[in-house]
Assembly symmetry: C2
Homo-oligomer: 250 residues x 2
């Protein structure tokens, strides 16, 4: 891995809690681990919605083994994984806790969260064999890929915000690489500290900045460049990137 | 769903045990459910290889929570899911059993199966913190999508054969739809029993036959047409389909 020639400007990254919240918010299905009557671990696929505090909402049938398991013992964990490329290099998170049946207004919020996330959920909403559960998260394990991982407490998980630009990051990355190679090179050579950079491609974007892969006559390496302010809105990447490009060319 | 006008010719389909074996053989990563020290269910992502009897082979680190869990208690289940489209409409299978450390020749077979399936596995082969496990399958639950599901005993699972044409089915389906619309229509109108078929597209292929979606003036519906003999080899779809097309035009 080639290093920059001078110290790069500080560039914030998402915390593990933010990574976990972002992953969970971006998906609507995952693997549920529950306990059989014998206390054996049982894995199955489930759809879920997400409450504002990051707690997953499940809606399961007692005709399914996981539904009978939860009715008997609420202990459960949910794995949510990115669905791109090599699964073991993909980001994933395990949320472990206890599934509880919400009541009253909490049940209405849970039902709304599930129906907002899961296509066709209304069809089963009133089936008598289906039960709504909220997974009260007690422990979180996040893995960002090879050798990027951390444990997250329930408090930090609940308090973190999903990245608002997660939904537009992939298209922003494509656009930067297709049309703004010069700006990316300036970012790498300026704030990124790779003063001898000959080319730079964008490999990731989030609310705090961009990840670049930079080539130099000395070899290639990763480079992080940060925005002046974190993006607060879903459409914030464009403005933040323009500001970063201007600053890099000064 | 529109029905055929006369009884279709009998057409075999894969058994649930064959579906499960085919799914497991076609993948190399899945979701593992294990037990924590407190007996709570813990979900995580793992790579696996497959032994000739369908038993998954895991190679896990005691630095990972699932590795510590298995060292303490071998009870585990592995979920393998198709990675296409809506996850809850996709095929998936849960293999539940007990992870055991193989010894002697069994350890060599397990190591080979893991390395054959998992890219880069050699790198960790001799790391001291990694342990090889074989999941002895005791119970299998297969879900083929909405309302297609079955339980499979360990004996039936071990005795079944993965579909040899699974790897070439998608490209065969594309080729049939691109270049052989007339043959598909003849299959639907002949062996399929849809004598008033006006169009047919292929939606699936396996060692035993083809799944078609047929249009008629009365509406559209699914249609199964069978090969004269099950394909025995990976490249068997072409010959079997040619025979079926000839027979359909007689």
């Amino acid at each position: 891995m080639t290093e920059p020639l001078r110290a790069p400007e500080p560039a914030q990254v998402r915390t593990p809690a933010e990574e976990a919240r972002t992953l969970v918010a971006a998906h609507a299905s995952g693997l549920l681990a529950t306990l059989t009557a014998d206390g054996d671990p049982w894995g199955s696929l489930v759809a879920y919605g997400t409450l504002p505090d990051g707690a997953p909402v499940l809606h399961v049938s007692t005709l399914a083994e996981h539904g009978r398991n939860l009715a008997r013992d609420g202990r459960a964990s949910l794995v949510v994984a990115e669905d791109r490329g090599d699964p073991l290099d993909a980001g994933r998170v395990t949320l472990a806790g206890r599934a509880e049946r919400p009541a009253g207004a909490a049940a209405e919020s849970a039902r709304s969260a599930f129906q907002a996330a899961v296509r066709g959920a209304e069809r089963y909403a009133d089936f008598a064999d289906f039960t709504l559960y909220v997974l009260r998260v007690e422990r979180v394990r996040w893995v960002g890929g090879f050798a990027r991982m951390d444990s997250v407490g329930a408090g930090a998980y609940g308090a973190a915000e999903p990245d608002p630009v997660a939904g537009s990051a992939a298209s922003a990355v494509r656009h930067l690489n297709d049309d703004h190679a010069g700006a990316l090179l300036a970012m790498a050579a300026g704030p990124g500290g790779f003063t001898d950079a000959t080319a730079a491609v964008c490999v990731g974007a989030d609310r705090y900045g961009l990840d670049l892969w930079v080539e130099t006559p000395r070899g290639a390496g990763p480079c992080r460049v940060g925005f002046a302010e974190p993006c607060a809105q879903a459409d914030g990447l464009r403005g933040a990137t323009v500001e970063l490009a201007r600053r890099s060319r000064r």
